[in-house]
Amino acid sequence: MYQLIKQIIKTGIKTENPPQPDEAMRVDTQRLQEDILRLFGNALNIRHVDAGSCNGCELEIHAVNNAYYNIEGLGIKFVASPRHADMLLVTGPVSRHMVTALKRTFDATPEPKLVVAIGDCACDGGIFGESYASCGRIANVIPVDVVVSGCPPTPTAILQGILTAISTRK
């Protein structure tokens, strides 16, 4: 126990300042009203859905939870069910085998809800494109509010995308 406490004290606080929202990430047709966005304030629940990604974006979503980015410190946390979620964070091109699961997850998320598409494949199909097995971008299957490009996007970019979605339009 002594070693454990010593290590915590020695490590100190690593958390860095969060990025500013970026209007360029916002897709024009954001479906939510400003006042609803304000409601999410500092208590946002996110449900992550991998709709067919290579697991690269997942690594960075994990990283958003580490001490440097400390997403929970901003009042944002990942939840185990879409029923508890305000936002879906969706990665991948949508594989055809995930279409039903993704749509059902979207339907199970209570209104008002936000969808943030994470990664190049989620934005435009990426290297996998559209094929017999892939539907391409997330917006081909469910409505998307904010897109975050990158392969994979950095944790800062992911955080910025999330913050953009919950910030009110200027």
Binding site: Q3, L4, Q7, I8, T11, K14, H48, V49, D50, A51, G52, S53, C54, N55, G56, C57, E58, L59, E60, I61, H62, A63, N65, N66, A67, Y68, F78, A80, S81, P82, G92, P93, S95, R96, H97, M98, A101, T105, G126, I127, F128, G129, S131, Y132, A133, S134, C151, P152, T154
Partner: protein, 516 residues
Amino acid sequence: MPITHPNLHLTRLAGAIPAWSGEIGPDDLQPICQNVRDGGGRLVALWGSDTREQGNGYALHVSLVNEAGLICLSVPLPADLPGYPDISQIFPVANRMQRAAYDLLGIYAHEGHDHRKWLRHGAWHGGSFPLRKDFDATQSRTDEADAYPFVQVEGLGVHEIAVGPVHAGTIEPGHFRFSVVGEKTLRLEERFGYTHKGIEKRFESMSLQQGTKLAGRVSGDSTVAYAWAYAMAAESIAAVTPPDRAVWLRALFLERERIANHLGDLGYLGNDVALSFGFAQFWILKEQVLRNNAALFGHRYLMDKIIPGGVAVDLTEPGKRTLFEECAMLEHEVRVLRGIYEEHAGVQDRFIGAGRIEPKLAARLGLCGLAGRASSQAWDARVQFPCAPYDKLDVQMATYRNGDVAARVIVRFDELFESLRLQREILTHLTHDDILSAPLEKLPANGFGVGMVEGWRGEVLVAMHTDAQGNLTRVHPHDPSWQNWPVLEHAVIGNIVPDFPLINKSFNLSYSGQDL
């Protein structure tokens, strides 16, 4: 010669690892597989290809490994009845690969005891096969509801728990069907294929260079291993040797990928037994490794840094010093954290005995990679088939025999320290030539090449076939998760359901890598 058989004539393939190829008739497949199995060998990969444009039918390809190296067998199959003898009785791991080969190409195992589909759900209908050259994507579309008969467990008080494809955490999609009595797991059955996005078909329309990027995204957490195996396969066909500095840098990248993933897993294993301190600490270390990657090589996960012929990025002298300092820091910190894990009674109570795979079962089922080594399966491609620069590094293999979560944690710690030692050695030996890659624009016609790399999870194989114009006609990436997923079904038997996330994480297998 790795094996002898009267009807088998093997040709040595050029390239970094000892590999042979040869053609056999269907009748010789089982005896040769049995021969390799009896000698302690394993099945690495099984795939099919459409060779009708070359005037043949289809072909089954089987890659076996024994102490001498890789043995790649091709079995020509007639176009009208493309059947071959079932080898899943010899290598149980062949079961899912044979089913996948049917779903994608329509070649099938005679007497196969499991005829359920594997990669196909509802994206294309049963009579069409995506990897056939005359496959028509629009005609094959179907909206059929997906049906899959799970094995039912019957008895008083038995019930099923269905999990997935969307999981509770930040994990890839897949379905797990538990049959339980109370808290105890009687049976687990996995159902995958949810992330199938047509990777193998995609390769067919790509140039060698475009394919490099795709290979690095078969499983994002193993991008270095896949990119290297892909490059190795191309270099094997073209008989090109990458420059000295390039192979040292490749090994540096591969060990850094192992370090980053092992750090991440050790953190999550702590988290899964309610020691969130472990997650916080190990992920601070992992983040520092990733940031150094970004600063020195331009990508946090080193994607697209290995290319056919060599590497796409160099390491500067100041960068070298940064990595030496990182090594010293990590060695110290990980040693402290290992002490804390080992002395923490609550952690050890959850780790020890959970999800045990006895060495005998591991050998029978072909468990490989890190999980295999935790169950006494002493296979590590860096040790048995050391391609340059591993031939100069004398890699120490980490093995343990308990086969439980604790053993997989111990192997991770040991490999982490070994990778840090290797990183130091690599930095010391890194030669000073300026050339980072050998020219490799175009591949020879009708070639076959193979690459195999010991990634952090296990051995990653990429097989490559070219057509009469030297274009990619078939690329098959193989993930070690094919081998290890079926063993997870055994590991959880008798364990309580709440231990599943812990046991699953201790294997940490890829969905995307096997769904393709």
